[in-house]
Each structure stands twice: as C-alpha cells, then as structure tokens.
Symmetry: C2
C-alpha cells in the first residue's frame, strides 16, 4: 500500500479504550483527538466494515436499550494496533493556509493581516481552554494510560501558549507597521 489509510488505526485506538458505535468513534476522534486528528463518517463506516472482515474488531450482541451497532476490539485487532504503534510515525505534512496568507505580505493592507491574527487568537483561546479543561478532567481519571493522555493535553497547552506568544509579537510588529504607514 502506498498511502495506507490511518483511519483504521484511529478507530482501533478509540475502541481500545472501550467499545463504541461508529457514531461515537467519530465523536471521540473529533473531541479527544481534535488537536491532532479528525475523521468523517464517510470514512469511518467503510473502515469498520473492513476491520470486521479482517477480524480486528467484532460486533457486540445488542443489549436492551442500545442504539445502533457497538464494536469491540479483538485480540487480533490489538496486535494490529500494537504493530502500527511500534512503527516510526510518518511526519505530519502541515498545510496551514494561514501562513500561506501571511507570506502574501504587502499584497494586502496590514489591517487584513491583523484581522487574520485576531481570528487566530480567538481560535487559540478556545483551544487552550479546552486543553486546560482536559487537564483538569484527567486529574480525577483513573486509567493506566493517564500519564500519556495528560502529556497529550500538556502538549496542547504548551504549544497553544507558544502560538499565543507569537501572536503577541506579530500583532505588536504589525501595529507599529500600520502606524508608520498612517503617519507618513
């Protein structure tokens, strides 16, 4: 395979913690993993079918009051996940539109960039807040992997703070630039 889809590993990662429906897997990815991963329904359901065929997951017998299908990871699935976890991570190739726009520099007025920065700040504030909420929540969660998950949340906290520090610097410089332009 050239670009093996990693959706299967995202699914297995979520199911490793507890059995879930396809819907809940998507929810988990887009909440727990939101800082570094996303999945769409159009990707998850076909993947679950494949994982069923390969016996990496199994469908649990429906319990009363249960909606939809609930999947559980199998011992084989855990092995599949483990094997992948051992492989070196393929470095993420960012494509952050934001900086491409920044590179445009004087093609647009400084004010346009300042607006972009302001939007970015709102997003970062929200992301930082959710990382901090996650840290608080994790304090009272008993789980063998608590340390890993806490470190993940810490990563969010640290990098969002760094981004915000950069934002301060960028805004300051651009505002100076704007004033110079006005005073000329």
């Amino acid at each position: 395979m050239k670009n093996p889809s990693r959706t299967q590993f995202a699914c297995l990662s979520a199911l490793r913690v507890s059995p879930l429906s396809g819907y809940k897997i998507a929810e988990t990815c887009n909440a727990w993993f939101s800082d570094f991963w996303s999945e769409s329904y159009g990707q998850i359901y076909p993947t679950l079918k494949k994982l069923l065929l390969s016996e990496d997951i199994e469908k649990l017998p429906p319990e009363k009051g249960q909606r939809g299908d609930v999947y559980k990871i199998t011992p084989k699935g855990l092995e599949t996940l483990e094997a992948w976890l051992r492989l070196p991570a393929v470095p993420a190739s960012f494509r952050d539109e934001y900086f491409l726009k920044f590179f445009g520099g004087s093609v647009v007025p400084v004010s346009v960039h300042l607006e972009h920065l302001a939007r970015k700040r709102l997003q970062l504030d929200a992301l930082l807040a959710s990382a901090q909420t996650a840290l608080k929540t994790l304090e009272i969660v008993p789980h063998p992997d608590k340390d890993y998950w806490t470190l993940m949340a810490r990563h969010g906290e640290i990098s969002y703070r760094a981004e915000l520090a950069w934002l301060d610097e960028a805004e300051k410089l651009l505002k100076t630039k704007q004033n110079q332009a006005t005073n000329q």
Copy 2:
C-alpha cells in the same frame, strides 16, 4: 467548488516574489514554505496550465541559456491572489500520526514511546536550526515583506522551541515510568 485546491494560491504566492519555472516553484514551496506547506510536481504542472488559461500567469519569452518555461504573475493573477488573501483562513486540520501513537499508551512498552520521542527530537532540532538559519538570512535581505517573512520564521523558532520543551517534559516522565516498571 467544494474543496478548492490551494495549490494555485501557493503557486501565485511564489510567483509573486519572482518569475519561476514549475520545478523551481516546487523547490520554493518545499524549502521556503516547508514549515506549513508542501506541493508535489503532479499537482503543480496541471495547476500552471489552468492558471495560464485563466491568464493569472503568463509564460515569459525564453531567454538564452534558460531551461524550461518560466512563468510570471499577471496583474489579474495578483488580483486573484489578493482576493484570496483577504478571505479568512480555513483552519488547518492536523493529522499528526505521532500523537495518535502516543494515545496508544501502554499497548506498547514505554521504550517504544521513548524511541518515538527521540526521533521527534532529531526532527525538531533540524527544523529549529533551519528556522534560525532563515532568521539570519532574512537579516540582510532587503524586501518590503521582510517583516512578514521574519515573523514566519519566528513562528517556527517559537513553536519548535515549545515542542522541544514539551519533549523534555515527556521524556522525563516516561523515563520515571520506565524506572518504576524496572524496579518492581
């Protein structure tokens, strides 16, 4: 359009600074923009054809000793770029395999995670070094957009430093974890 390709804007952004061949555009994207953007040849050449048709770029008359085709942005192309620059940036959706693996926690031994961290450190060291080289280079570059480009490099420096700080924290905690396991 649903997912309008941003390759065209990457091309226009590069050509805005100076006329380039398709090959050089790819080089520029994967060097200058490497922190936040990537393009492949299979994407660039078809895009250049489209941009020619829409008259956003034009082919320069071949000069002696020139290899291949060299493209230049047109006034219309500059307008196209400007219009896009004014639009709010679509937030980047990361898919960083690295953290998905980290989430796997105790599925693999601590040593596996420490190896992942060590690899990540090497990558970050290299990225930080290149950001710092860029900053030095920019010091002596006279260009109206120098400030923007410097801020971009500063973003790299700041965020890579933050990542490295997190790495220190993560390594420390995981090593403690490893020792505890050994001493039991």
